[in-house]
């Protein structure tokens, strides 16, 4: 029991990101409302960003700006900035994805007057 807790305590960020990712996936698969699916997609992508950001964290490490007192000799003294930089790009990508998705959702709502996927499919089949 103790080892299990220690294992969980050491790797809690992995469990956390995985749980959030599965919540997002559930929303994308199980919800019929298109807007809720968009939210699910957002949660899914954010979970992966969380995962990346968490791997850059380091206990006791400073911000990654070159400090003459520390020098470059000891990389352990700095937090790893690269995952954060990558995620800035990923955030931009996810904003663009969500933007395109919302534009499509808006157009679908204008055409059909509803965002429930089964109602839209019923209307399309009825014609």
């Amino acid at each position: 029991m103790h080892e299990l807790l220690a294992e969980f305590g050491n790797k809690f960020h992995y469990y956390g990101y995985f749980a959030i990712m599965m919540i997002g996936l559930y929303a994308m698969i199980a919800k019929t409302n298109l807007l809720k699916k968009c939210i699910g997609l957002g949660i899914f992508q954010t979970a992966i960003m969380l995962f990346y950001v968490s791997i850059g964290a380091k206990e006791g490490a400073g911000i990654p700006i070159l400090d003459p007192a520390v020098g470059t000799a000891d990389p352990a003294a700095y937090a790893n900035p690269l995952p954060h930089v990558l995620m800035l790009t990923a955030i931009v990508v996810s904003v663009a994805t969500l933007g395109v998705a919302l534009a499509l959702v808006q157009n679908i709502h204008r055409d059909h007057g509803t965002l429930e996927e089964d109602e839209i499919l019923q209307r399309l089949r009825g014609k």
Partner: protein, 515 residues
């Protein structure tokens, strides 16, 4: 100048997209010319690059002058250089063939369409040439996002289909990103060549030595399979490609699945080595089962379709099964078949989707509208015959040679289910296309072209049409036919050049020890 060629293949497209967007209010009329020029410049640079690489060997371009592993590198080796030439050539042909179609399908929005088209091509070419695993993710999204936007225009269902494609596609790309994250944790690098070296050091006896690396490979594979529409992840593909307007489908359908298969090959060859990638037999077996299922599912669903474009979408699904299966047979012939089939299938799909666009405009895309096709649209019908012969696998078309390599790979790997699926799929393709030929030759045209609702079942409605149908009655203008004829002819040319392509492009890429 020649050192800058890898970036010059993509730069004209990005600047062209910007120029078209900026010029949409000022120089509307010039926009088509600007976009064509950008595509032509990119194609010219790609061809020059391919010639340079094939004569002088691979080149690496450092974007912004930063050497790897810190900076992003663009790697031009024989495989990526030829792929660049094929992608840009396919895009140029689609664009030239679709001028009138774009103007009628996207009224008032054609400048936006041109810009998105250029961005989509730039994204696909970037995926091919980049040597950085994270940059690859960004470019996948560049290609996909512009793809969603142009696929959303079209018939009434296009919007919903495109949104579903967006959900599934973003999921796939996110899974890829997650896999890259695992790779980064284990190696601390994102450059593909660097990754490969570090992975080799970390796990000298295969991926089974490291759970995290095996997980990374699994997650990346899952992401790529979602993006290329392998069997259980395919549901978005037929809807997204068949309800959209024809030019968008003719661009995205040949490029996306093939470029994703190219990424799969890149991952096997350049990031993980073949030994590591094929190191877990259970995964290989599972993927071969999926590929076999994809081939059979695509073929039999294609039999049930009643419209040309929908049928082509399901054939595309089975072609994805060919490429994935060949990559996991675990031998040289199979991988050669996959790489060759990426090029061959790009041309075949392009040819058939351009044909479908012409037929939809000329007679209507349902089988019941296509009576008398060979008299009404002889040139388009001839291109259809060439594309179909290549899909079926008639020598000397390129489709025959990729099937040959795949089949010999399957037999060498003793994977008889996959070999059987390949043969069955060829036979089903023959049935599919000869059914269209029969309607086109013997069926009578419906009274109102394009009004399929009043059409009688073709093949048995010969009564009430006394005079023969005039030749060329519904044929498209030469501007639409010339690129199509070029693509159709290239199917034969590529088939005849098979030996050279394998010797110059495939063999230098594969590791020498691969059996």
């Amino acid at each position: 100048m020649t050192g800058q060629l890898p970036i010059l293949t993509i730069a004209p497209l990005l600047f062209g997209a910007f120029a078209v967007t900026a010029g949409r209010f000022l120089f509307r009329r010039a926009n088509y010319a600007v976009a064509s020029l950008a595509l032509a410049a990119s194609f010219a640079a790609s061809v020059l690059l391919a010639i340079q690489i094939l004569t002088h060997g691979p080149a690496i371009y450092f974007v912004g002058g930063w050497p790897p592993p810190v900076g992003i590198s663009y790697v031009a080796d024989p495989l990526s250089a030829l792929m660049l030439a094929f992608v840009s050539g396919a895009a140029l042909c689609t664009f030239l063939a679709s001028k009138s179609e774009i103007e009628t399908s996207y009224p008032l929005k054609n400048s936006a369409f041109y810009a998105l088209f250029l961005l989509a091509v730039a994204g696909h070419m970037g995926i091919v040439v980049t040597g950085d695993a994270f940059n690859l993710y960004v470019l996948i999204e560049v290609a996909a996002l512009s793809g969603y936007a142009i696929l959303a225009q079209g018939r009434e269902r296009a919007m919903l289909s495109s949104l579903n494609y967006l959900f599934v596609g973003s999921l796939g790309a996110s899974l890829y990103l997650l896999g890259v994250g695992y790779l980064y944790i284990m190696t601390g690098s994102l450059n593909m060549a660097d990754l490969s070296a570090i992975i080799g050091r970390l796990t000298p006896d295969g991926l089974s030595g490291s759970t995290a690396l095996a997980a990374a490979w699994g997650v990346i594979l899952a992401g790529l399979f979602v993006k290329m529409g392998l069997f259980p992840f395919h549901s978005w593909l037929p809807a997204a490609y068949s309800f959209s307007a024809a030019p968008a489908a003719a661009l995205v359908a040949p490029l996306t699945t093939k470029v994703m298969a190219y990424v799969l090959v890149r991952m096997i060859l350049s990031v993980f080595t073949p030994d590591a990638a094929w190191g877990v037999p259970a995964i290989n077996t599972l993927i071969l089962v999926l590929a076999t299922a994809a081939i059979l599912y695509g073929s039999f669903c294609a039999l049930a379709q009643r419209s040309l474009r929908k049928m082509l979408c399901f054939i595309l699904l089975s072609e994805v099964g060919y490429m994935v299966g060949g990559a996991f047979l675990g031998n040289r012939a199979g991988l050669t078949g996959t790489i060759y089939h990426i090029f061959a299938d790009l041309l075949m799909t392009l040819c058939l989707f351009l044909v479908a666009a012409n037929i939809e405009r000329g007679t209507g895309g349902r089988f019941s509208d296509m009576g008398g096709l060979f008299r009404r649209m002889p040139v388009t019908a001839a291109a259809l015959v060439l594309g179909a012969a290549s899909m079926i696998g008639v020598p000397p078309f390129c489709g025959f040679f990729s099937k040959w390599y795949l089949l010999s790979g399957a037999i060498a790997a003793e994977s008889y289910a996959f070999a059987g699926a390949l043969v069955i799929s060829s036979l089903v393709n023959a049935v599919l296309f000869f059914r269209i030929f029969e309607i086109g030759f013997f069926g009578a045209p419906p009274d109102h072209t394009g009004q399929a609702d009043q059409a009688e079942p073709a093949g048995e409605s010969g009564h009430g049409h006394p005079g023969p149908i005039p030749f060329f009655r519904d044929e498209m203008p030469p501007a639409r036919l010339a690129p199509l004829c070029l693509v159709a002819a290239s199917l034969v040319v590529m088939g005849l050049l098979t030996g050279q392509i394998v010797r110059l492009v495939v063999d230098p890429i594969l590791p020498p020890g691969l059996g």
